[in-house]
């Protein structure tokens, strides 16, 4: 514990020191790289929240990728059909809830193996979106909103307060989730269900209902991440558009020890590595083939897991069916 803590703090300190040094060298580029890290890190963080919300109540969700893919597609499709970004966002969130309910249905009501259920969501989302996809659509996207006063703070203004609306919304969701998980009845009950469903059941908490609720809510968060991807970050949609972010999110969740703040920090670190790589490519400091750049998050994910796995303790009831009646 302490070893890990110190490792975490040393890393944070080094990152701050390097950022400070680079900022003194070139303020404009450093600021923009860190701001980009937030933009890249946010969808991963939101996707990791999907995993956290599900697994904290004991449902393994490897269908996050499918949720992202499906909701980003639906969001984009609706936004382009209605020419209304807000409709797009709402439909994306609804689509996310639909995938969540589908997972809940398969894994809770049908008691299917949860990993197979997640795989079905992924394959179904891939099939459905590639089938419905047509090229050349345009959709309205969101625009950055500068928060008055805060946005004029040097460095932090651009890093935190000059983003599109979904970035702010996403960050609010993440912080609320953190507070809710550790300080409300819902959070206490959810964690109890994920660790020892019987304890919640015998205390009059419906395991079935809470799991359904959380997996559906998680789907909504995934829908938000999808909307962010297609309507704010990229502004278009293409087949296989989410590029494994849903899986990376699972690794971030594990690395963050199923804690929203931990996963957020891990996601931002991931975002930073991507932002730095982009900057290096852009400024021609290093020429790295595109394929290797694309590979980076996956390699990092494995490295991150190889470091953290075995030292973490997942929710104890994860992946298990809760049988209320046993002889």
């Amino acid at each position: 514990m302490t070893r890990f803590l110190s490792f975490k703090w040393i890393l944070t300190f080094i990152l701050i020191a390097i950022t400070g040094y680079l900022y003194s060298k070139d303020g404009v580029i450093t600021t923009s790289v860190v701001a980009t890290a937030v933009i890249f890190g946010l969808p991963l963080a939101l996707a990791a929240m999907v995993g956290i919300m599900c697994e904290r109540t004991g449902i393994v969700n490897i269908g996050i990728e499918g949720t992202l893919l499906f909701s980003s597609f639906i969001g984009f499709f609706v936004a382009s059909s209605t020419n209304n970004g807000v409709f797009g966002i709402i439909s994306a969130i609804t689509a996310g809830v639909v995938t969540g309910l589908f997972l809940a249905f398969m894994s809770i009501s049908w008691k299917m193996d949860q990993i197979i259920a997640g795989t079905i969501i992924n394959i179904l989302a891939t099939g459905l979106t590639s089938f419905l996809y047509t090229q050349g659509r345009m959709a309205p996207t969101t625009f950055p909103i500068d928060i008055p006063f805060f946005s004029s703070i040097p460095f932090f203004g651009q890093v935190l307060f000059m983003h599109g609306p979904l970035v702010y919304f996403g960050l609010v969701v993440i912080f609320s989730l953190y507070v809710a998980l550790y300080h409300t009845s819902w959070g206490l009950r959810s964690r109890a269900v994920g660790e020892h469903p019987g304890s919640a059941d015998t205390a009059g908490v419906s395991v079935f209902r809470l799991r359904y609720l959380n997996v559906a809510l998680a789907g909504a968060v995934g829908g938000l991440a999808g909307a962010y991807l297609s309507l704010e970050l990229v502004g278009s949609w293409d087949r296989g558009f989410t590029a494994g972010k849903g899986f990376t999110a699972l690794a971030l969740m594990i690395f963050g020890r199923w804690n929203p703040m931990g996963a957020l920090a891990a996601a931002m670190f991931f975002g930073l590595t991507q932002a730095v790589t982009n900057q290096l490519m852009f400024s021609d400091v290093a020429h790295i083939p595109e394929q290797f750049v694309n590979m980076l998050p996956y390699v990092l994910t494995i490295v991150v897991l190889a470091i953290s796995a075995g030292k973490v303790r997942p929710p104890a009831a994860e992946g298990l069916q809760y049988e209320k009646e046993k002889a």
Binding site: H183, T184, S185, L188, R189, R191, A192, E195, H196, G198, S199, A200, D201, T202, A203, G204, V205, S206, R313, A316, K324, E325, A327
Partner: protein
């Protein structure tokens, strides 16, 4: 006066088993009713129906005259039912306070009011004289304390009916007496208590009325005034029982299993076996008596190579056994009847045939090189099913389809049919029907008479006292006393188990 709890004609079946058949029981306010029965008699299922954890197939359950909705736990709680569960329903990684308030948390706005919750726990703890640390994490607490938390959880709402499902299984005799006193006090204050046990002594000590279940049915109803332990036992099993196992005198030879200065950690990395020394001679049964959680499980697992040893050595016939190599240790002649047969002893989706060779599938005659010898497998299974009286439709039936007693017979058959020098039996009759218990006991005695050194670990003191030639009392990770069978008196052993000096 209408009864506090009325169970009327409740029937519940699980696939292949009738757990409860047409059961009717009443409990009045201020009354202690003991529900007595063997493992598998249907006691737990019945009280779970009352608490809304199981939906009965038919019948009615009324609390204070009101019919409760089947399967509605929160409804049962709202009507003043509290339950202490046999398997603790506590979240190990949460604090005592969090566990107790779970399900109805004191709030301030939308947040949990932890301060109020903590104060409530302290007040509750004081009120019932059950001491707990509200900020401790449950996983760090000994089982006795966890039991107290369970009871506080149940008593938190003003309960009218308290159900206790085998609450004494993990307690020392002294802790048990304290719990029985708590029950008496509650009853005196007007609470109805429904108390499940299979220990006759406790029933005689505390119950106003006794209802005996057998094979899912009410076998009789009586009171401690009208009967004695012998009579209760007879009701439980439906025939005259010999509480004493018949066996000849042991003829012990040289020490076959020798344990020296053994140190072993438990799952939480706390020292559970702390410098243990023990010898078991060929041709004798040594029973390890102790309250659960005093290192017995870790001892057994260390002997069988399933848990890393920190230091010390374990010799079988003079030869040191390797650490963490269950299979090698097994091939040195150590048979093991594991505590958790579904986890370690059996592959429930395999046939009986395969399960009977699970740890020797790659040896002759069951394999010739790389190829398995199906004929030998079949011959082996056919013979053992007959010899060990395994009740099964066929040898290709999966082990999971068998009853608890027959599953255990499969394990016993496999372990005792091989050439064995040491038998380590951990809770060999837990969850096993009476007939099978007798059979398994006789097999252990037969193994002893054939010259094996038998180490029997059991939470059932009666089992130890009736089988063992010597009784080793384990407390705090050490053997604190070794008694010859004839000097092992229940009271004396109980004191030793509690860590008191003789």
């Amino acid at each position: 006066m209408s009864a506090l709890l009325e169970i009327a004609n409740v029937t519940k079946t699980f696939p292949g088993v009738v757990a409860n058949e047409n059961i009717s029981i009443t409990v009045a306010a201020g009354e202690i009713v003991a529900l007595l029965g063997e493992n598998g008699a249907g006691k737990s299922t019945l009280v779970k129906s009352v608490f809304g954890m199981v939906r009965p197939d038919s019948g009615e359950i009324r609390i204070k005259g009101e019919i409760i909705t089947p399967g509605d736990t929160s409804g049962a709680i709202a009507r003043g039912v509290g339950m202490v569960h046999q398997h603790f329903q506590l979240v190990p990684v949460m604090t005592v306070t969090e566990n107790i308030i779970l399900g109805s948390e004191p709030k301030r706005g939308i947040f949990i009011n932890m301060k109020a919750a903590r104060a409530e726990v302290l007040a509750l703890s004081e009120k019932y004289g059950l001491e707990v640390d509200p900020d401790a994490f449950v996983e760090d607490l000994p089982v006795g304390t966890q039991q107290r938390i369970e009871i506080l959880k149940a008593l938190r709402k003003d309960v009218d009916l308290l159900i206790l499902d085998e609450p004494t299984a993990v307690l020392t005799p002294q802790e048990t007496d304290e719990l029985l006193q708590v029950m008496r006090n509650l009853a005196a204050s007007g609470v109805g208590v429904l108390f499940i046990t299979h220990k006759l002594r406790e029933v005689m000590a505390v119950a106003d009325r006794v209802v005996v279940l057998r094979n899912g049915r009410v076998a009789g109803s009586t009171s401690p005034k009208e009967t004695d332990e012998e009579g209760l036992a007879q009701l439980m099993v439906g025939r005259n029982v010999v509480l004493q196992v018949e066996k000849g005198d042991a003829k012990p030879a040289a020490a076959t299993l020798v344990i020296r200065e053994l140190h072993v950690n438990d799952d939480r990395k706390h020292l559970a076996v702390n410098g243990l020394n023990l010898e078991v001679r060929a041709g004798e049964i040594v029973g390890v008596a102790g309250v659960e959680g005093n290192g017995q499980r870790e001892l057994v697992e260390a002997i069988c190579g399933m848990r890393p040893r920190i230091s010390g050595e374990i010799l079988v016939a003079g030869e040191a056994t390797p650490d963490m190599h269950p299979h090698k240790i097994h091939s040195m002649g150590v048979s093991h009847i594991p505590e958790d047969r579904e986890k370690h002893g059996l592959v429930t989706t395999y046939s009986i045939e395969d399960n009977l060779v699970l740890n020797q599938f790659d040896r002759a005659p069951f394999a010739k090189g790389w190829i398995r010898n199906m004929a030998a497998l079949e011959e082996n299974a056919t013979r053992l099913v007959k010899e060990f009286d395994i009740r099964t439709p066929s040898i290709s039936t999966t082990a999971g389809a068998l009853s608890g007693g027959n599953k255990q017979k499969v394990v016993v058959a496999r372990e005792l049919s091989q050439d064995t020098r040491v038998v380590v039996a951990a809770q060999p009759t837990r969850g096993v029907d009476v007939g099978s218990i007798e059979f398994i006991h006789n097999q252990l005695i037969a193994a002893r008479d054939a010259g094996a050194a038998v180490l029997l670990v059991s939470a059932e003191l009666d089992e130890i006292l009736s089988l063992a030639d010597r009784v080793a009392v384990m407390f705090g990770g050490k053997i604190v006393a070794i008694l010859e069978a004839k000097e092992a008196e229940r009271v004396l052993v109980g004191r030793l188990m509690a860590g008191l000096s003789a």
